[in-house]
Amino acid sequence: MALHHREAAPVTQVEIDLTINGENHQLVVDTRISLLDLLRERLGLTGAKKGCDHGQCGACTVLLDGRRANACLALAVAHDGSEVTTIEGLATGDQLHPLQEAFIEHDAFQCGYCTPGQICSAAGFIDELDEAVDGPLSDDLIRERMSGNICRCGAYPNIVSAIREVASARSGAAERVGGAA
């Protein structure tokens, strides 16, 4: 019978292991699923947003192994074994992350859709900062290095001031440590 000659369907379900916001997850996933869809549709972590789904708007930005990345273009299967931090994992209990505090303080959003991506991206930016490569912290530098995050409400001036506050507190602290050494 013809049925006996049918080839086995290709294996397109794969088991992966991810640590998300400190919690280990063993998952069987379709090879096609993006990290973003996995977070939102399978794990109920809807903080990371789907804007363009093409890597152009940054609303899906998460920290992947500690570095900011577009979750929409990351295939989950390609990041087996990785650590992911989403906006849901930035705070420590009820203690907001300094960037979350600063975004509230500076009114750095209007509709809020891009905000989780903005904050995760800003966390990555501050972590990457290296004066030897980037020069001194400036609003121009913040704008350049945050260009992967689009805000349709145009809250940019307040986003820049929120990030400047946290980044300069960080580099100020680094200088004090350096001065004492």
Binding site: P10, V11, T12, V14, D30, T31, R32, S34, D53, H54, G55, G58, T61, L64, R67, R68, A69, N70, L73, A74, L75, V77, A78, S121, G124, F125, E128, D130, A132, V133, R143, E144, R145, S147, G148, N149
Partner: protein, 332 residues
């Protein structure tokens, strides 16, 4: 998106064997995925099999004998851009990397993948339109359509698309070599030389054969590259592809005579464009703004602009002069 199998081999030989032996009609290597995954979502790429090459251990930048660098193909764009040796010896390469995409994309994107990214021509990325690169023989929609940001050099009646990589432009100025693992073993491909002009086969971006895997990029020692820079003109200040870009390196003797000069253009052709005519004009003579202008004019004399992009000719000419004048410390 079409279902596909996913394989993660142990090493480069395994990756080549997996891809070539798969029998898959459309198999692709996966680096960072920032271009490929997008093209799969758009239906431009429809692989049956992805072979992950981001974790084969090709993730180091190391110094070579004589003061060059060997960069593993899976090094992320952001990591190479920040490498201290690269920044000292080849500043234009670091600047080119930092001018491309956004920081979160640069954290995913790999060096090998960057060189093999596809054109952003809107007729290529939209499957409802005619494109000889995507669908050979269907025609070039851009030729009689929107082509403001298309090629002015080396294009053909079949394709007027440009190559989008900034890194490739800087590596072309350096004269880097691409190390490729293929079915017949390892070989070296010089740049320029990796990317093709379209001719009548625009579906082929490069000289690579099916199954060929880029494992590393080798940057030769190049004194001139220590004084080099990358300038990119684009439609907005950041996170945009080049309209025209220039990578240039300049080395002068104490009396101001040009000993070595390297110039490559981006955004103007199907491949990064090494400005050999301009380089020849300049070598051995003084580094003056007048000579820079004459050399740039000689290079752009070959340009064949299209109806909507004639502005790129003076733009490229002026950009060459500005970059060289900055490097020489003279007024443009």
């Amino acid at each position: 998106m079409k279902p596909f199998r996913f394989e993660r081999p142990e090493n480069a030989e395994g990756a080549v064997a997996t891809l070539t032996a798969s029998g898959a009609e459309h198999a692709r290597y996966l680096g960072g995925g920032t271009n490929l995954v997008d093209l799969m979502r758009l239906g431009v790429e429809t692989p049956d099999l992805l072979v992950d090459v981001a974790r084969l251990g090709h993730d180091a930048v190391r110094e070579t004998d004589g003061g060059g660098l060997r960069v593993g193909a899976a090094v992320r764009n952001s990591d190479l851009a920040r490498d201290p040796l690269l920044r000292t010896r080849y500043p234009m390469v670091s600047q080119a990397l930092l001018s491309g995409a956004s920081p979160q994309l640069r954290n995913l994107a790999t060096i090998g993948g960057n060189l093999l990214q596809r054109t952003r021509c809107a007729y290529f990325t939209d499957t409802s339109l005619d494109c000889n690169k995507r669908d050979p023989g269907s025609g070039c929609g851009a030729l009689d359509g929107e082509h403001r940001n298309h090629a002015i050099l080396g294009h053909s009646a079949a394709c007027i698309a440009t190559h989008p990589s900034d890194l490739a432009v800087a590596l072309t100025a350096v004269g880097a070599e691409v190390l490729v693992e293929g079915a017949a073993g390892e070989r070296h491909i010089p740049m320029p030389g990796l990317h093709r002009l379209p001719g009548d086969a625009p579906e082929r971006d490069t000289v690579l054969d099916p199954g060929d895997l880029i494992v590393a990029i080798q940057l030769p020692p190049l004194e001139a590259a220590r004084r080099s820079s990358y300038r990119k003109v684009r439609d907005r200040a950041s996170f945009s592809f080049a309209v025209v870009s220039v990578a240039a390196a300049l080395q002068c003797d104490e009396d101001g005579t040009i000993r070595d000069v390297r110039i490559a253009l981006g955004g103007v052709a199907h491949a990064p464009w090494r400005a050999e005519r301009a380089e020849e004009e300049l070598r051995g003579g003084p580094a003056t703004a007048e000579r820079f202008a004459a050399a740039a004019a000689a290079e752009l004399d070959q340009a064949r602009p299209l109806e909507q992009n004639a502005f790129k000719v003076p733009l490229a000419r002026n950009l060459i002069v500005t970059v060289l004048a900055d490097l020489a410390g003279v007024a443009a």
